[in-house]
């Protein structure tokens, strides 16, 4: 059974059909790419998957369980984490705290413990620190753990967002243009990190990307959207040589 099964997914905003009849299955452990020209509905698909929008049609199943109609926080607890196209960090908090906040569902203590700083508080905080630092180390951010998130350079902010998503212990991680605004070196490094994360944490990754080198380099399967509908799907080399896909990107 596929980890994520999307069937007939569609949403209308008034008269605008932003996403229409999109179907795809993502297997466990896969690195799946979602591409398409600007305005194709890629981010809308992400918003549908994470409960920001409620689909007007279709079903989304994560591990066989329907997640349509659940709130974003419930969907995160069900196992989907995401990053945003326009970075959304907790800017006035430290890098470490950004990740520790995301651990809140795994390492918990009661409000009373929080008020009194009972021994359980120290134990949980220590555990959180260790876990957060371990994740930050993967992204080479451990040296800047006590920086304010807003003081990180752009590329590192993108990485921190992935680290934060990863800290929620997801089954499926959605990355919305992780390489946007990065130079070729940074992109290459990011590709390595994404692959490493997948192998090390045994998670499945769905990513939106415009950088074709990154997409063809790491994705095992690609879905192309255009005007909210599927244009093509399959292995990278086959999809990227598809004449229709080339037309959609470059015009006639």
């Amino acid at each position: 059974m596929a980890l994520l099964e999307v069937k007939n997914l569609g949403i209308s905003f008034g008269g605008l059909r932003a996403v229409d009849n999109v179907n795809f299955d993502i297997e466990k452990g896969q690195l799946y790419g979602l591409i398409g020209p600007n305005g194709a509905g890629k981010t809308t698909v992400f918003n549908l998957l994470t409960g920001v929008y409620r689909p007007t049609d279709g079903t989304i199943k994560l591990g066989g369980i329907d997640i349509v109609g659940k709130s974003p926080s419930e969907i995160c607890q069900a196992g989907i984490a995401r990053t945003f196209q326009n970075i959304r960090l907790f800017k006035k908090m430290s890098v470490l705290d950004n990740v520790k906040t995301a651990l809140h569902n795994q390492i918990r203590y009661s409000l009373v413990t929080g008020f009194f700083h009972l021994p359980a508080y120290f134990k949980a905080e220590r555990e959180m620190d260790e876990k957060a630092m371990e994740i930050l180390r993967v992204f080479d951010l451990d040296g800047q753990a006590d920086y304010l998130a807003s003081n990180l350079p752009y590329g590192k902010q993108r990485k921190l967002e992935i680290a934060r998503g990863l800290a929620t212990n997801p089954k499926l991680l959605l990355l919305d243009e992780p390489a946007a605004g990065m130079n070729p070196n940074e992109t290459a490094e990011l590709m390595e990190t994404i692959r490493l994360v997948r192998d090390r944490y045994q998670i499945t990754i769905l990513l939106i990307e415009h950088d074709m080198k990154l997409v063809s380099g790491i994705c095992e399967k690609i879905l192309v959207l255009n005007f909210g509908t599927e244009l093509a799907a399959g292995a990278p080399e086959e999809v990227l040589n598809n004449p229709e896909v080339i037309t959609a990107y470059l015009g006639e």
Partner: protein
């Protein structure tokens, strides 16, 4: 090794660590210092009469800071919660027949709980609103409470509720102020504090990492209401009379001014600003007619020279010891 890892040490020794010992020493030291000053006649009667109001304003400012500074929502109804606490506590101590200590302690708790209940009832529907809308609704709430109190028989109406026992004194206020400060600082430095701050910084991202935003917003709002209620009880038992007029929107704004001047999201800043802004009008009493005019001028001047609040000043100077500020400002 990064600084954050070194700071792990702060979680190692549980209760008895260097930081907690210093905090305890400071708390006891300040208390004794003020007792010595008052007993030794250094502080005159006027200064002594300000001790309780200073404590009350600190409790009010720090609790409002939880909502405004840490949660990032503008609430203009803090005086309303204070009023609920003040009247509940006062009615209880007037009608109850118990030893003073038990009666006042229960009154304080009841006042806080009553305010917290109202905080919950109002918070659940209202916290779906954001920014200006929330500010207007909370402003309206404060005024509604004041009007209701005006009409009710048991509250004494517009004439006010009289003959409240004068239980508030320096020791009571100081202990409750310290408890409030410890609770709120602890909370802010816990996973709940991180959640509250993350909602302020980006609520969409907070939702995306599995935080139930409205639940934690309500939680912060209710806790702030509780402490505002407690401050209200102290207030009523200090003056021995409470009038609805004491809790109008001017009072809410006054508390907000303290929070803004101290710095959003800074407990220490709120404490300093509360002390200054409570003493200031009294010091200006000598100028008679120009009092409120000068107060406004001083306030404007303070905001101009201290636009980011006391917090940034404190952090940047590094002269004052860090008690346990949650936000690590590390500009690089």
């Amino acid at each position: 090794m990064s600084k954050a890892m070194k700071e792990n040490g702060e979680y190692k020794n549980n209760f008895v660590n260097k930081k907690n010992i210093i905090t305890a020493a400071v708390i006891i030291g300040v208390y004794i210092l003020i007792v010595v000053l008052t007993e030794g006649g250094v502080l005159n009667r006027q200064a002594k009469s300000l001790l309780v109001p200073i404590g009350i304003n600190i409790i009010l400012a720090v609790s409002l800071n939880l909502v405004t500074g840490f949660l990032g929502e503008l609430s203009l109804g803090h005086a309303g919660f204070m009023a609920i606490g003040a009247y509940t506590g006062a009615i209880f101590t007037i009608y109850a027949n118990m030893p003073e200590f038990a009666e006042f302690l229960l009154g304080i708790l009841l006042g806080g709980i009553a305010a917290a209940v109202f905080g919950f009832l109002i918070g659940v529907p209202v916290l779906r609103l954001k920014g200006d809308y929330l500010a207007i609704v909370t402003l309206g709430f404060g005024e509604i409470i004041r009007s209701i109190v005006n009409f009710m028989g048991i509250t004494g109406g517009a004439m006010g509720l009289k003959q409240i026992p004068r239980y508030s004194n320096y020791t009571w206020t100081y202990i409750i102020m310290v408890i409030t400060l410890l609770f709120i600082t602890n909370l802010v430095n816990s996973r709940y504090g991180r959640i509250i701050r993350s909602i302020r910084d980006n609520y969409i991202a907070a939702e995306s990492i599995g935080i139930k935003v409205s639940r934690y917003k309500t939680m912060a709002f209710v806790i702030a209401a509780f402490f505002a209620g407690v401050a209200g009880v102290l207030y009523g038992h200090n003056l021995s009379i409470v009038k609805p007029g004491d809790f109008d929107y001017n009072k809410s704004i006054e508390i907000l001014v303290i929070v803004v001047l101290g710095g959003m999201g800074s407990v220490k800043g709120s404490v300093i600003a509360a002390v200054i802004l409570t003493i200031l009008p009294e010091m200006l009493r000598a100028t008679d007619d120009f009092r409120m005019f000068l107060y406004a001028v001083v306030l404007i001047a303070m905001m101009l020279f201290n636009s980011s609040g006391f917090r940034t000043r404190l952090e940047e100077s590094g002269k004052l010891p860090k008690l346990s500020l949650p936000v690590k400002l590390k500009a690089k």
